[in-house]
Amino acid sequence: MLRAFLKTFQEIVYVERFSASNGVLQRIDPRVKLCSITAFILSAVAVRTVTPLSILFAAILVLCVASKIPMKFFFLRTTLFIPIFAAVIALPLLFITPGEPLAKVGYGGLVAEITMQGIYRAAQFTLRVWVCVASLVLLVLTTRFSKLLRAMEEFKFPGVLVTMMAVTYRFIFLFVNEAYRMALAKESRTVMRKRWRGVSRSLANMIATLFIRAYERGERVYLAMIARGYKGTVRSLGEVRSTSRDWVFASASAIICLTVLSTEYLHLGGW
């Protein structure tokens, strides 16, 4: 099971093939993309009704198609996090939101009512999380990680944060591979089905070993950085320039956000 999980994780993380393709978003300056996606997320957080969120979601889907990302892959990747986090948080909303009762769930004295308003709030919350996740996934899928970091540098994000992100991104692949190899080695020496206690113990050992290896590698990487003159800051090469295409995209993003916000605050329709 652990091996299968690690394999799936590997497949999810290895998505650099899309950032290299020739789609619309791939050709946009990462700084503009970062700003636009941040604006999308802020707009999603600022609205409380489903219609503006749907408009935003539709815009993201259009961008997804224009960026040559397969819809099935995009949906799988974005929905993977929603049932786990958003739905768990949104579930109680079905019962605790006061309103028109739709159904009763429970047994004996423990009965809870699902309300229409509860369903609406849960759907609205899930959609909002979905839009935010989808926006970020779109950004990550269409931008090379190095360019994303460069954009963050340009926006004066703290250097330590950018370096930490770069190193994490670089080594996450290595550690996933290492964990996968460890799981494989463990499985090759497993001849009898173990009880849960035995499984959890070997899993704990594996995690501990991986932690020690990660710590030791961290030390060696730091020494290698020091050996090449690292003094706490990382400089990047080259200049980033925006073109008219980037400005057109930025304007389009602004229009989308304005439409979403006006639908909400000017009560232009929907529920």
Binding site: F145, R170, R217, A224, M225, R228, Y230
Partner: protein, 295 residues
Amino acid sequence: MSEVAIEMEEVRYVYPDGFVALDDVSLKILREERVAILGPNGAGKSTLLMLMNGLYKPSRGRASVLGTPMNTKNSSRVRMNVGLAFQDPDDQLFCPTLWEDVSFGPLNMGLSDGEALERTRDALKAVGLEGYEEKPPHHLSVGEKKKAAIATVLAMQPEILILDEPTANLDSRSKLELIDIISNLRRNRDMTLITATHDVNFLPAVADRVYVLSRGRIISEGPLKKVFSNPKIMNQANLELPIVTQLFRLLAEQNSVATESTPLTVKEALYEIDRFVKRDKSQSGRNSRLKTEIF
């Protein structure tokens, strides 16, 4: 300017847990020399290289690089002149792309963008990784990672290049490519080359002189032929002789082929065989003439 690249006198290094990695190590490496540090796993080779780069400070003894004493104050200056390629290239390559990794050193040296760009291009070209600039390191093969790790150091244009186990985990083709790269480097840039390895077959291609390290101590030093002619030393260091040398030693023991010197490489072996065959032919010719005169 000092003619000595690296000098160490009675250096001892103790890890924080009390493990003595190096003890009483004294060595002198001259500029533009090709020197190897030979020793089995755990002999203290990597620790010695870290000391040479100024990453570790000796617990006792003195060390200097190009005449500059190694201490906390001088460590930056030392690192500018001493390029160290780590044993595991994954330790060395930590940026999202190769381009950023190779330019990391020159940019840290305070060079301008233009100069760093030029050095990055040159270094990638020197190791044959042109066109790999935008590749993330986790997409490279082990051989390519090794080359990339060397490029990250070359971009700093160090006077002393140190390679830690460069052939570890490499297939024979990648080994040959690496030897080619190192030979070209030596031809094009006048640099001191220090290689730590236990790969005795690779050694003659990258070194003329060797220090044999065993359990943190230098047990022998000298030209390769001299050190390899002493099987006791090699045994003491848990090392084997190069395969060609072993073969000729066996042949000599059986009195099949007697050569003037023990060959270390296939090329040298070929030369010795050729000489032996010619000598043998002339000897048998002389013998047959003698026979004719007698009878």
